[in-house]
Symmetry: D2
Subunit: 253 residues, 4 copies
């Protein structure tokens, strides 16, 4: 058997954290917060003693200081009703870290977060309906690392409906497509590259339903974290260079 020594993954789960404080129904589903449920799932499924933090909007600097981001291999982002309360300074900081190689998982209503729309360049708008419909999540990319161990479809008995047209750039990889009882379809799992960073958007997950306890949803998130992580990479965004002719002759062979 192979025994490799790799530094443990460092993960930060960020959550707006408002629904849980203001809506008893949500608090009942997520007593530790949505971030707590997500962190629990990752702890369960990721080998190698990952370092998992959580942070919320109400924390100073939203809990996303330069120091925290510098120690984060992959950031997960859940937000919904307070996107505009996220400070532009923190958004720029997160963008810089993503371009420098930090992985980013954007979840559910995070499609409208400042960080996601800024990285996409589009409206990221979509069709939605809150009808407690059944969502089926189909794996259309069985060779992709994010679908390892996932047979389709994942069945989510009750969910908010998201539908096309989802205004995102053409993704690098289309991983999952969802259908809903009402007939809508949605590109529910898509990846992007921005700078040196890897981004995975995954739509299942809503404050009103216990989606983040679903074993296969947890598996997808764990796979996504592993896929997005680049433990060995530096954290320098690409920058302009102006080298003289033949500069590469001094490169190491």
């Amino acid at each position: 058997m192979q025994h490799s020594t790799i530094p443990p993954l460092r993960i930060t789960v960020w959550n707006e954290g408002i629904h849980e404080r203001t809506e008893p129904g949500v608090a009942a589903i997520y007593p530790e917060g949505i971030h707590g449920a997500i962190a629990d799932g990752l702890r369960l499924l990721l080998d190698g003693d990952p370092v998992i933090r959580t942070a919320v909007l109400a924390d100073p600097e939203h809990g996303l200081t330069e120091e925290v981001l510098a120690e984060t291999d992959v950031l997960l982002w859940w937000g919904h009703i307070a996107h505009d309360q996220v400070s532009d300074e923190v958004v720029e900081r997160v963008q810089r870290h993503v371009l420098g190689g930090m992985g980013l998982l954007v979840l559910h209503s995070g499609h409208f977060s400042k960080i996601f729309t800024r990285l996409m360049g589009t409206t990221c708008s979509l069709l939605w309906r809150n009808g407690a419909e059944r969502e089926l999540v189909w794996n259309v990319n069985p060779a992709h690392p994010i679908t390892a161990g996932i047979e389709g479809p994942l069945v989510i008995d009750k969910q908010e409906t998201y539908g096309e047209f989802f205004d995102i750039p053409t993704p690098d990889d289309l991983v999952f497509i969802s259908s809903f009882s009402g007939g809508e379809v949605f590109r529910s799992g898509v990846t992007f590259t921005r700078g040196r960073g890897r981004i995975f958007y995954f739509s299942p997950g809503d404050q009103a339903y216990p989606v983040y306890y679903h074993p296969q949803i947890r598996r997808v998130l764990a796979n996504g974290v592993r896929w997005a992580a680049q433990t060995a990479a530096g954290r320098t965004p690409p920058a302009v260079t102006n080298p003289s002719r033949g500069w590469f002759q001094d490169s190491p062979a």
Copy 2:
């Protein structure tokens, strides 16, 4: 207004043509054959007096002689129960023309045709069920020429169900995604480039339902033909070259 002079499109609609001869129910829906219904739709929607031929399996050389292909800008392909009766010689000829720039639209059960599987390199297998379910065809690419004039979803009241996993290479463009009453999803409109040729696979359309009379399905096929056509291009597949250093200095400026 702009008056441009472009040679008329030359289109060949190929159909296996067996269901219509052996099944009265199919003959009742498609008295002129599936190819006849498709050709009628194209005649209705394409400006500029296109030259539209049809050809069937039973024709000599399946109606796809070197001469016919040389005069075809776009070939449409419908087949189902007799893929193995298509001669390898004709398949190689069609492949050569596609690589040389002829457009190809592969329809419905044509996913299992020799020409499609050969151009894809995969099994092109899928999930299917004949349950007369409702198909909804969603436009996920509103900037694509094939969706011009198409608002989604197209509603097809009764259809054969096709579902994922559809074993095709990653398409160049994902244009349509279908859902079915049973909950399945399918990448129902996808494009590929092979050599100099453009390929569009579009799944709606079955011998048991009058799908090829659906006005919006006809619109998609007409758009697909226009998108796949390269009237000005030659018909030479890419080939190995072995030029001497600096050969391009003689290129026209």
Copy 3:
């Protein structure tokens, strides 16, 4: 022959317009401005009496009022030393029109323009060197409409060198790759979709060399304009919808 009636293309060529006023060498190459040379090339090659305007930074609202954009099918953008003088209000307006379906061609040093970096979400940084090196532009996508009539390579005797890593998102289509005498390579022709709009970035073209008079460069720009134009489309960016279940049953068949 086919006689179709299509409304004429409406094109706006935007140029910063500073080099030509402040540097005699540039004024000597481009007496009508870079925008003038580009507009001349398009007039020469586009059939159907296109309506071609030009606009520059110094114009009120940079010449890009709501009215002008509403009457523009494709906008070309050349900028270099004054990106930060472009008002954010105009940039947002242009972005809205692109997302709504206006075509956009971004040229050369426009890679660092506000509008391009905002649509990309990355730094758009690159390697550069001003060494009057020879650029070869290779066609790696002979089936693409933008390469119609273009055999490779295009030979540009003297050019500014652009090299990888070019920090852009994965393009929808890679069309051209350039090499330079110094050995660098650059993805010099790439396309993107954002919202309903089509974007083409094409790097050849610098204020210090007469690149925009090169017949094949002009051909590429004319092809790019035709590819990016959607004359029949509306101009509405994608937006959130919240329809009730079964809303599409009223769609036209």
Copy 4:
């Protein structure tokens, strides 16, 4: 530190093995064969005691029996002058394993191998010239696992020149672009998905030059093997299914 227990990678390096037996110059460079040099490089760079076999054309069934392939996570393929001597039966077997999830690295002149052209569906033709030119291999995808630890450009002092147009389908990921002293460019590192399998084509490497001893070329091959391997996956190519409506309700939650 993280200690994970993963079964060791199982790798088979396949080589035609003719140049080394018939040309003293090649034998001098590759005394253990091209396959031997490649295997040595992988042994040096891959942790976890990988199981590395080699096989050559002259072996019974070319050394690629059902048993060998069933025990192979990743197959590397080098061939040049004897592509037509590879039996169709073995090619079909390899294709089946790739579609079922075996990784495949196709090297240099393997672009014309039966297995590669069959998986691509195109001619896979290219421009070539044997002029001992310098090749520069540029990393255009710094977020890709295959470029981990690779700063560009790799400098190969003498190489056979490969140039565009390279007649392959649009790759899933473009990883490397090469330039040559003569000015040609080539998409020298590209990935594809076929069925459940991952494919990496990497062009540097020729029998006449000691490219497979180059430390960074070896790094790329090791990265490619890790990227293509799916140790946990089964080995079943996608196949048609015909389930009854609602079949997925019995899926595990």
